[in-house]
């Protein structure tokens, strides 16, 4: 069965620190990849997505992610985090169907 692993469950950073959140998936075929963010008290929002083409994807609010097919990874990065980035981040994979397979999420806390 397909699965998505997010290895960091809780991350605490100071403002201006660099961020990298890991995401690995288990499916070997063609995949579409997503990062969603959930700010406190708000609904899930799309940060960025990869369908095809350039494996380095840029999203909103300065986030980017790199699809490395050989490593089955789609890690999320941001060079300098802000306090307002405090949220929960979910990686999701879709392979050939409409079913999103989500990871368990990473809670990021940014200290001002």
């Amino acid at each position: 069965a397909q699965s998505v692993s997010q290895h960091n469950h809780h991350v605490i950073l100071s403002e201006a620190a660099s961020l990298e959140l890991g995401c690995n998936y288990s499916y070997g075929g063609t995949v579409n990849l997503f990062w969603y963010v959930q700010y406190p008290g708000q609904h899930l929002q799309l940060l960025l997505k990869y369908f095809s083409g350039d494996p380095l994807v840029k999203g909103i609010k300065g986030f980017e992610a790199e699809f490395i097919k050989s490593k089955f990874s789609f890690n999320l990065r941001k060079p300098s985090v802000q306090w307002s980035d405090t949220a929960e981040y979910f990686c999701a994979v879709v392979s050939g169907t409409y079913k999103y397979i989500f990871g368990t999420g990473t809670r990021l806390k940014v200290l001002a």
Binding site: H43, F90, T97, Y98, K99, T104
Partner: protein, 113 residues
């Protein structure tokens, strides 16, 4: 409205009660999805509609769970004889079609006592 809306936002039920959760998708979105998110977990797929047709209900955990979208717009997820393990956030999402990005509602937090 501009986004997906869900009601109620919070629901407390006694074990054995029936509940109904409503989802209003984005206007014009053909595809509608329900997910269940348990505490500390990511959302898990429950069911999928294309217009009024329920094309996939493989994620529904038991026959106590039932979903409908009779006119291809608003959808209702019904849980009969609720159990404590049904406590979770129930998310609704819609998309233009099944292969586009999904837009999520705020969820309904169900607590079964």
């Amino acid at each position: 409205g501009a986004g997906v809306s869900q009601s109620p936002r919070y629901k407390v039920a006694k074990r054995g009660q029936d509940v109904a959760l409503r989802c209003d998708p984005i206007s014009g979105h053909v595809s509608l999805f329900w997910y269940q998110q348990a505490l500390g977990q990511g959302p898990e797929f429950l069911t999928y509609f294309q217009n009024e047709a329920q094309l996939d209900k493989s994620g529904l955990p038991s026959d106590r769970f039932f979903a409908e979208r009779p006119e291809g717009s608003v959808s209702t997820l019904k849980i009969q004889r609720t159990q404590q393990e049904d406590s979770a956030v129930y998310l609704c999402a819609s998309s233009l079609n099944s292969y586009n990005e999904q837009f999520f509602g705020p969820g309904t937090r169900l607590t079964v006592l």
